[in-house]
């Protein structure tokens, strides 16, 4: 079942088209990646979902119903440019935003305590925002975003500005939120996190959707004719007329070889050759990283 759907969303600013008939459909309790180069229109789409701006045409659905202004209460939004009042104290500010989202003072307090503890930022409650580092501010903002336990969470570039340790904490929190029932849309340039987190993606370039689907399927689609073979021990495996060795390395008493087939051929033929060479542990089609796919798709279109 789809929690959120956008159909043929088009938006232009004057003569500049920011989104051209972009559609996404986000299954319930999944993580949806919104990818694309800078200026592709991701943030515009996110703003439309948040009803910050309206689309010129197209329709938006939440839980199968048309998106209404009141629905902002069930959406949590972490904008790309983090926005906090610099002169305001962290706790006060968190309370203010929680109340804007419709939480009562007492309820907001209770949940803030929980999240501040979870993200290890309780000590900063009484500090002014301007005293915090950028990463700290982002943690605060993250807590504010998820506080009202919305059905749909939208993170615009959630990992920028975090060190690897904190990025991992946020990653785990996102997974935890999905487990608890939330549906998440996030935009990112960090393709590693896409592979780790996303169930589905849409790639937008020059205001149009150019790729969409399940992450696993996309990677298999783009796999092409490369395979990874892992042998036990230090194994010699030589090229023949059917395939070329792309890469070979021996580590921990295992040899990994990536080969590329030269013509359409039965994988059995390769396997036969491999079996002759040594003891095969695994044989897999080589999945390209999302990074590669991203670059290839975008460059192909340009």
């Amino acid at each position: 079942m789809e929690l959120f759907e956008a159909k043929d969303v088009t938006k232009s600013f004057g003569s500049v088209v920011a989104l051209d008939k972009v559609s996404i459909s986000v299954p319930k309790q999944s993580i949806y990646g919104l990818l694309g180069p800078n200026g592709a229109g991701k943030t515009t789409l996110i703003r439309i979902i948040n009803q910050i701006t309206g689309p010129d045409s197209g329709e938006l659905f939440l839980n199968g119903r048309k998106l209404k202004p009141d629905d902002v209460a069930s959406i949590g939004y972490l904008p790309e440019e983090r926005g906090l009042y610099k002169k305001m104290k962290v706790g006060e500010q968190a309370l203010y935003f929680a109340q804007l989202k419709g939480l009562s003072h007492a309820e907001a307090m209770k949940r803030l305590k929980y999240w501040f503890k979870k993200l290890d930022i309780t000590d900063w409650w009484g500090k002014k925002v301007e005293e915090l580092s950028k990463g700290m501010q982002q943690k605060v903002q993250f807590a504010i975003t998820v506080l009202h336990e919305p059905d749909l969470l939208i993170f615009d570039e959630p990992f920028t500005g975090f060190d690897p340790v904190n990025a991992n904490i946020i990653k785990n929190e996102i997974l935890f939120l999905r487990e608890r029932g939330a549906t998440i849309i996030f935009s990112t340039h960090n393709m590693g996190s896409v592979e780790e987190l996303c169930d589905n993606i849409t790639l937008i370039n020059k205001s149009k959707t150019i790729l969409e689907g399940k992450v696993g399927e996309i990677r298999r689609q783009w796999a092409g004719n490369e395979y990874d073979i892992v042998f036990e021990g230090n194994t010699e495996f030589n090229e023949n007329g059917y395939f070329k060795i792309m890469n070979r390395q021996t580590e921990n008493n295992k040899t990994s070889v990536r080969i590329k087939t030269l013509s359409e051929m039965n994988t059995n033929e390769i396997l036969l050759a491999a079996v002759k060479a040594g003891k095969v542990i695994s044989f897999n089609p080589a999945l390209p990283s999302m990074n590669e796919i991203f670059i290839r798709v975008v460059e192909a279109q340009n």
């Binding site: 004057g14 939004y77 906090l84 009042y85 610099k86 935003f97 804007l100």
Partner: protein, 453 residues
Amino acid sequence: MNKIPVIIKREYLTRVRKKSFIIMTILAPLLFAAIIILPTLFMMNGTEDYKKIAVVEDRTDIFKGVIKNTKSAEFIYLEDENIEELKKTFEQKGYYGILYISPEIVNVPNAVQLISRKQPPIGILDHIETSLEKEIERQKLMNYNIENLDEIMKNVTTRVSIQTIKIDDSGKVKETSTGIAMALAYIGGFLMYMLVFIFGAQVMRGVIEEKTNRVVEVIISSVKPAQLMMGKIIGIALVGLTQFLIWVVLTVGIAGVIRSAVFKKSDATEMVQNVSKNVMSQDQQLQIPGQSQPEIDPAMAEFTKLFNSAMNQPWLLIIFSFIFYFITGYLLYASIFAAIGSAVDNETETQQFMLPITIPIILALMVAMGTMQNPESPLAFWFSLIPLTSPIVMMARIPFGVPAWQLILSMILMLVTFIAFVWMAAKIYRTGILMYGKKTSWKEMWKWLRYQG
């Protein structure tokens, strides 16, 4: 759920808690109180200091008893006193100074000297001069041997003091004072200018802060832009009112404390009694003009007149109009300020938009000043109808009396314009706060006005 109160609360609390706000709120009344108190203090100090002045006349005694004692000075006529001797000892004898009158006085005007250690106050000099002048005049006239001179003099002496009386449709008359009306016009117009400008600019700064911080995106995902704008405008208006109220209370309080500390209580009560007595007698005058006037101390009469006139001002109308024009005028300008704040990326960029707002306000202030000279001028009339200037100019006109239809028309125009401006500002604001990095022009803003959705 309506979230405007939450926004108002934040806007209000963050500003009220600022150190600069607290300092300004406490310091300003001290300043105001000083401005109010100091002049009175100086004036009263003069009367407090009772002076004894020795009057020494050389050889003649024509001026004996001519100079009457006043509240602040006593004139003691000394006969057969050695002036040179007295010059050395007058202080020990308890005199403030010596008034020496030489015999040539009738012909040479500067034959009179007041010898003292300190510069004598102007009031005493005036008193002495007029007393002597009158006496010399009288004596010179006597030289002409006119019959019944005393009687003629009594008939000739006149005192002119214009009484301004406003008469309304029902024929009721009220004593007024142009002085008071001018003061009120000035205070009303200027206060309006200050409040609108100071707090309108605060709205603009607040909007720019939110925009540059990108806080606005988070808020806009929770509330509508118009709600945020109104919340901010109202919150800051409440800050302004709070400050204003504290100022009034503190100023009155401080002034009161200083006054009661400095002046004797009996003085005050005596003054009030005198005033009320005189007010009554003035009323009688109004009913039977032309009849003989009871003898009143001229200074007291002047004061009574002012007091009377102040009481006769249409206070209810003034207060009501002030509140009406403050709220609508503030909302009008604050929404323009908010729209401008939303259209720029930082405060330095506001310059090009500030000028067109500043011009009507400055113009209004100038016309308001002119209004005090001529409240009925066509300029004052038109500017008190045009909504951008009417809050200031109309406030300046009201103490002089404004026809009801003009006031009502001005208010209706103001209401309509204010609603239109808030609506337009909200539209510009909605688009502007999410626009970054682009230099905004008037043309651009006009386009935003027509954006849909």
